[in-house]
Subunit: 345 residues, 2 copies
DNA sequence: TTGTAAGCGTTATCAC
DNA sequence: GTGATAACGCTTACAA
């Protein structure tokens, strides 16, 4: 039923090799033969079998991505960037989703990729708890090149990540610039590397500014709006005089806004609020939310580009292409929720 | 470098076929040989090459999904369901994203799938404008089985979709039940099939209730919060006495909420607002949003299940497995933005 | 410019 | 139970 190279060759009265050459645009071929072959291809509706090609050429022209939480803003945007770049480079993309991002048993997915002989792997699962323990030199040796996203840079590994620390610093610095002095923070879950980085960015900046931050001025959330609510309540209970709150993502900021409304607190006059992510809705929160934007699509694109370099290097036996860590800058988006000095109408 | 079946066979002093049998758990094999072979596999770190297997077995054990807008709530959740079900059924998943969902030139992606010999395709791109014209019997014949998501059911095609019409009807009926009588609607872009369905659901329900709806009571949005703002302004300009607004997704509802705040309109006392989707943030809007929930993950799962049935049928030459249309119910989530009769404090 | 033969890593057939 | 041998559809030497 399926048309093969042989069928085309027979119909065009040439050898299979000639057909192969036409299909792959390689080598010199006379106009007449080329046209005859192309006609036969058309007529038969021939489609090359990439599996067979991969088998002999020892490269599948496919990459694999392992992601988690693609129903959320960050991961989904990163995935878009990855897919886009794969498409442009001519790679097919195999997708695998981890239901639990803190899972440490990753061999099933890795095995499947190896079995399919993918040329490279993008690990787009956030670094949580000890979910990086599987990364071992001897294991990596038997794996195709890998690029890690949103992970703490480690020697010998290629990592692409957003500069969460600098992003949080921008947010805090902005609040200080606006005249805020008593700043609370609702952090992400602290077993996440990215959450810890944002935390560190806050601490650094407050310290530089000579502002003290009590332990009770930092509460831990879980990225959800509900946890933002709880966090805001706790913060205000301990420190009714807070004039600003930095929530480490926009959902938690949304929860904080809700509590402020319920308590009759004016935003930004009484308390300024800043988020992180710049989800599309944040521009329409009430009031509109100041936040920190990440270049997530770019991160995905870059990860694929880096991966391609690694693959190329390996292919040329320059196996020891120096792995690189890429850190992407963030951008502060200033909106109503933080504008103006405290107390002003 | 890569270990093959042959290497294992050599080390275990058996034939390749025997190793193959061990790997695939098929046929009777003596305990001793099996153990010897397994030891060799371990020792060599052998990984079967699925490409080669696919070549000879004429099935790739992989599915492909074409999606669009996975950075948004609906598509990303559907994708999660698809991936989940693929994983459970042992399929690998090839992902392709359409940058423009209304694109009509889909042959590049389809060709790539055919070239990779995927066993089936899930078309998870919303039906927009004429982006379904590529679906032709003669084209489909040369393609593996396909299941379409979020598309108007058509004879001869397998479709899985949410019952948008019924969902919108639930929303409107709820508003009527709450005593609302002058209801405005902010629709999605009307070249989207899903948007038209929600529209139709509104019209049907209002008609049954004997409530008239003027053309100026329905304004078209583009799913974005900004368009919800514009729509709300337009609605209130023409009809200051509207006591309810149904926005056909939560983002537009958010925009409508913002305008209400700016105009000092009380929600829900002056105007009730209902959305569609139940994005996680909607529970934390101010006030919390009544909305319609879709079973998007389920839709993805079901699509894969249906696809598997089609594949199985084709394989057994019962090529004409009757295609089916599946319509999934929605659920109304009642929250503060619509509770209580109009005018009450 | 084109053709021949070998082989990529599996599984299937049919013997033994 | 197990093992030769021939596919699967393609590319790559190496010839011609």
């Amino acid at each position: 039923m399926p048309v093969t190279l042989r069928d085309v060759a027979r119909l065009a009265s040439v050898s299979t090799k000639t057909v192969s050459r036409v299909v792959n645009n390689q080598g010199e071929i006379s106009q007449t033969t080329r046209q005859r072959v192309q006609a036969a291809i058309e007529q038969l509706g021939y489609r090359p079998n990439i599996l067979a090609r991969s088998l002999v050429s020892q490269r599948s022209n496919s990459l694999a991505v392992v992601a988690s939480g693609v129903e959320y803003y960050g991961p989904s945007h990163t995935l878009v960037g990855i897919e886009q770049q794969c498409y442009e480079l001519g790679y097919s993309l195999l997708l695998s989703l981890l239901p639990r991002p803190d899972d440490t048993n990753v061999s099933p997915v890795l095995d499947a990729f190896v079995a399919r002989r993918v040329d490279g792997i993008i690990w787009a699962v956030p670094e949580i708890g000890n979910n990086r323990t599987w990364i071992q030199p001897d294991l990596l040796q038997h794996l195709p090149p890998i690029v890690f996203l949103s992970m703490e840079p480690r020697p010998g590994l290629s990592v692409v990540a957003v500069d969460n620390r600098a992003g949080a610093a921008q947010a805090i610095q902005h609040l200080i610039d606006q005249g805020r002095r008593k700043i609370g923070v609702i952090t992400g879950p602290l077993d996440w590397w990215e959450a810890r980085e944002r935390c560190a960015g806050c601490r650094d900046t407050l310290q530089w500014a000579g502002l003290e931050i009590l332990p009770s001025q930092m509460v831990e959330g879980d990225w959800s709006a509900s946890s933002g609510e709880r966090g805001m309540r706790k913060l205000l209970a301990h420190h009714p005089d807070l004039d600003a709150v930095f929530a480490c993502n926009d959902q938690m900021a949304l929860g904080a806004l809700g509590v402020a409304h319920q308590l009759g607190r004016r935003i930004p006059q009484d308390t300024a609020i800043v988020g992180f992510d710049n989800i599309p809705e944040s521009a329409h929160f009430w009031p509109s939310l100041t936040t920190v934007q990440q270049q997530l699509v770019d991160a995905g694109c870059i990860a694929v580009q880096v991966l391609q370099k690694l693959i190329e290097a390996k292919r040329q036996d320059r196996d020891h292409a120096e792995p690189m860590a890429t850190l992407l800058p963030t951008q502060l988006i200033v909106r109503a929720s933080s504008l103006g000095a405290p107390g002003n109408a």
